[in-house]
């Protein structure tokens, strides 16, 4: 596992060697804040010093933004032929997959944490519950990992970044919509509550919302971590086939 480090370092620095990182960070922060400030978010109208309205849009925003960050993970290596270089160096596939995934995850975590002026804003305007702010950030970072696991997997299946983006967008959309309140109440219309609950259990939203409300339940953390583990396992299989 000691070869994870150089791969992580190269991949993480790689985001900043091209304009990709800066475009991504600016776009993400502008969009997330704009959504919260918009009349859909009602950040100011709510009159409460909390980040609910800010993080509420995260699953929908991640739906587009994480595939954009993750599509190049493996597609790029395959297209440019550097995968041949990487896999003739003394690293195992698992080390390479973990190194690249962690780099992408760290980058997304950085993007999420760079929204700290929002936290400062609510701290200035009122008296927020800082515990809830922390669990919200924890939830957002965990959820980013879940999204990225899916994107890393689809990226390993194709050398075309556009295909990778579209397929991961579709897969992530399924994982978001299963927990969307409109969809679950539609299901409850003709399915027993137990079944629709089980379905919504596979959604990012179902496991993310409690954390925004300040509840860190072990099963939510386990959901995100096991999703990451499962997608990375498939990722190794896809690369070794």
């Amino acid at each position: 596992m000691k070869q994870v480090k150089p791969i992580f370092k190269r991949e993480f620095a790689g985001y900043f060697r091209t304009p990709v990182a800066y475009v991504f960070l600016v776009a993400f922060l502008v969009m997330s804040v704009a959504l919260a400030f918009s009349r859909f978010g009602g950040f100011f109208k709510a009159g409460i010093a909390s980040l609910d309205t800010y993080f509420g849009f995260y699953p929908w925003l991640f739906l587009f933004i994480v595939p954009a960050a993750g599509m190049r993970l493996w597609s790029e290596e395959k297209r440019s032929g550097t995968s041949e270089l990487l896999f003739t160096l003394p690293v195992t596939t698992l080390e390479a997959v973990i190194g690249k995934f962690l780099a992408g995850w760290a980058f997304l975590a950085l993007a999420v944490l760079l929204s700290f002026p929002m936290a400062i804003t609510i701290g200035y305007l009122g008296n927020p519950d800082w515990g809830i702010v922390c669990t919200s950030y924890l939830g957002a970072i965990l959820m980013a990992g879940g999204f990225l696991g899916v994107c890393s997997l689809t990226s390993a299946l194709t050398k075309n970044q556009v295909v990778s983006f579209v397929v991961s967008l579709c897969l992530c959309a399924v994982l978001v919509f299963l927990g969307y309140s409109g969809f679950t109440s539609f299901l409850e219309g003709f399915l027993p509550v137990g079944v629709s609950d089980a379905v919504s259990n596979f959604s990012f939203i179902t496991h993310f919302n409690p954390m925004v409300r300040g509840i860190v339940d072990l099963k939510d953390v386990v959901f995100f971590l096991s999703l990451i583990g499962f997608t990375l396992f498939l990722n190794v299989v896809a690369l070794e086939r």
């Binding site: 060697r17 550097t82 896999f87 003739t88 160096l89 003394p90 690293v91």
Partner: protein, 240 residues
Amino acid sequence: MIEVKGLVKSYGLKRAVDGVSFTVKRGEILGFLGPNGAGKSTTMKMITGFVRPDSGTALVDNVDVLLDPVAVKRKLGYLPENAPAYPEMTVQEFLAFIAEVRGYSDPRARAAQVERAIGLTHLSSVRGQTIETLSKGYKQRVGFAQALLHDPPVLILDEPTDGLDPNQKNEVRTLIKNMAVEKAVILSTHILEEVEAICTRVIVISRGKLVADETPAQLLARKPGARMDEIFRSLTHTDV
């Protein structure tokens, strides 16, 4: 040092490599000849552990590539065709990355290996440039530097002189020749005079099968008075 045993690989219905076996000893430079698509690159990829053979295996320094691919990769220096590298990195960053993955975790030792590789391949004038801005010849040298970095006992070079000008070609050949004393080298090429100039043995492959395995002199002796390209053509004329 290298023992290739009955390698087979098919892509769909096409048998790219069909039962190729040979050995390379320390101090030998093996020239790997054959028309485009004859299976040269695929054979090399199987020896390096990048492509999994359908059957057969390869041993490098008595380590089976199927059983312990990472150990084999440690002993190998491999220059893939077209010398892929991360285009947004500078030459120095790229080689430092390779050195770190190769296990030189101490920064001093890493810098020393990078300096050595840069010196051997005359890259010092472009060390701060990103790889995407380099000409084909320099890119090829970066690939070469990457393969030599850890001073491996076995070198596998897929068309090492491709895209180089005549002076650079000559230089690379001299470099290979000087290093080969204590190494086993396989190099594939289209250039027949390259084989005559530096190889101690030649293998000709056609439609995935070996059609010759001998010294360049023996190959030339097949048709006294004929040039090497005539002999090459007569050996591989079925492969069109």
